[in-house]
Point group: C2
Amino acid sequence: MKKLINDPADVVSEALLGMAAAHPELRVDQQHKIIYRGGALKAGKVGLVSGGGSGHEPLHGGFVGLGMLDAACAGEVFTSPVPDQILRATRAVDAGAGVLHIVKNYAGDVMSFEIAAELAAESGLQVRSVLIADDVAVPNSRHAAGRRGVGLTVLVEKIAGAAAEQGRSLTEVAKVAGKVTAGGRSMGVALTSCTVPAVGRPTFELPDTNIEMGIGIHGEPGRRRLPLAPAAQVAEYLLDPILADLDFTGGPGVIAFVNGMGGTPLIELYLMYHEVTTILARAGVRLARSLVGSYLTSLEMAGCSVTLLRADHDLLQLWDAPVRTPALRWGV
Amino acid sequence: MKKLINDPADVVSEALLGMAAAHPELRVDQQHKIIYRGGALKAGKVGLVSGGGSGHEPLHGGFVGLGMLDAACAGEVFTSPVPDQILRATRAVDAGAGVLHIVKNYAGDVMSFEIAAELAAESGLQVRSVLIADDVAVPNSRHAAGRRGVGLTVLVEKIAGAAAEQGRSLTEVAKVAGKVTAGGRSMGVALTSCTVPAVGRPTFELPDTNIEMGIGIHGEPGRRRLPLAPAAQVAEYLLDPILADLDFTGGPGVIAFVNGMGGTPLIELYLMYHEVTTILARAGVRLARSLVGSYLTSLEMAGCSVTLLRADHDLLQLWDAPVRTPALRWGV
């Protein structure tokens, strides 16, 4: 295992110290591994809490700030945060308008957020949840009943965050988040495995001549292992199941997101984005907005995922709304 | 070679197509491989042109936009752009106040920019150049007489870009760029090699238990090969030569930049940044600003570099000034 780390047991807490130092505008609760938006709560704003295993940076902590999350709960690498941690974050960001939990569909995350939501409700807080299950690769998997939550998470956090910032009610913010989960689909490909620091060896073996189509963000198996292929072919492998699953034609178009898995350089992501635009043009799908970069990673895994979201005018104005977080920033 | 590419010969041009599609606010001259800031020139603003081999994305094209570069010339992977290309970009961004060339110290880049500057001068344009040579690792190298230009490039482009945006003269912008090059130092480490697409095999071999200290951004040899060490030790290996080379104490402090080489995930970069802050505190160096992320890469090389820049109040306000580019954006 070749990584820039000290003791594998300290990776998450030491990375949080680095985040705190690099982003003084955030408040990092080191003891409970929670990253908060700095400054006072905005009275009447719906609070947004997300979280999950570490190893997917900048998700979720890098999306805390104006126009996106109010708090992110970090678990150990590829390990769910615990209910107490989520409950603490939920209480801290409640500004009288309730709190939305943004949850990726993995058994551990779902359970922790459900328990936290119940405990919060018992103490009188209004909590709603949105479950993200956008991965078309496999119907069920090692860690999830139903589809896994992957790249769409970034878009849900951005769009729901903007809706909350605009002063919409908890019901309205949950509704817009639901519109994103209903209209978004993703699929990923791995060129290499990743290595969990505490394990010390690659999560899976992938021969030099193979790629894993439909990879999960923790290295869970995909739908099939194929010979390494040109990028144009890989883009088809990714988009065909997405386009078969939902009609993306019509309306103002899609938000297209090409995401790096951590070990793939930006030059390849731009190249893949070009292939995506070519396929979408052929399929009659209009491009409204795009995002290209490594925003939801799997440690140092090489590969990428593609996410498409059916947009409407409200989603687009929420997408365009100001955001100021470590990893996503525009308009302010 | 396992990459998301088609024909190795088309990597740069296809990635540029992707950049053009993802960033309609830029203007990409596909034929000449030049990325321009969109919109009309601002009369009387000094033009900023940089460029170099591709494979370092987001550098340089990702730094084109308000408050940073006006044009970036892309060579093939790890290959200098040609004089005609630079001349064309220089002419295109001249708005009557002259043009500054930002050049990393590699023989090919230096030669191409020098010829372009001479040709531009012959046709009556005012051109000044700033040479970046911040790498303390080795006094000379395979591709450079004198120190190599590495991570500091990002800081020069940001700060000179802000100075130009504020309406300073060519002499003044060149002077501020010179202040950055005089006050900045860098060093990098590689955990793995990278593979140039047209070559198809790793640039160098690095055993599983070794790291290369002082690596160049094209995989040029560093100062020594050492056993893999904990991050705290690696951070010392990087910072000791930097701190020995220039006095960074006093004043408002430093801008500290931890840069990923392409294949290292953000969680490790934040962890490394924590180690950097610990060493700087011990050395009595004050932290004024920071930047953590993969901004000047070497394809999919794993590793990182650390850059320190002695700041003063003018440099800090230029650093904080609004910037809107694909890879760096704040305040606007």
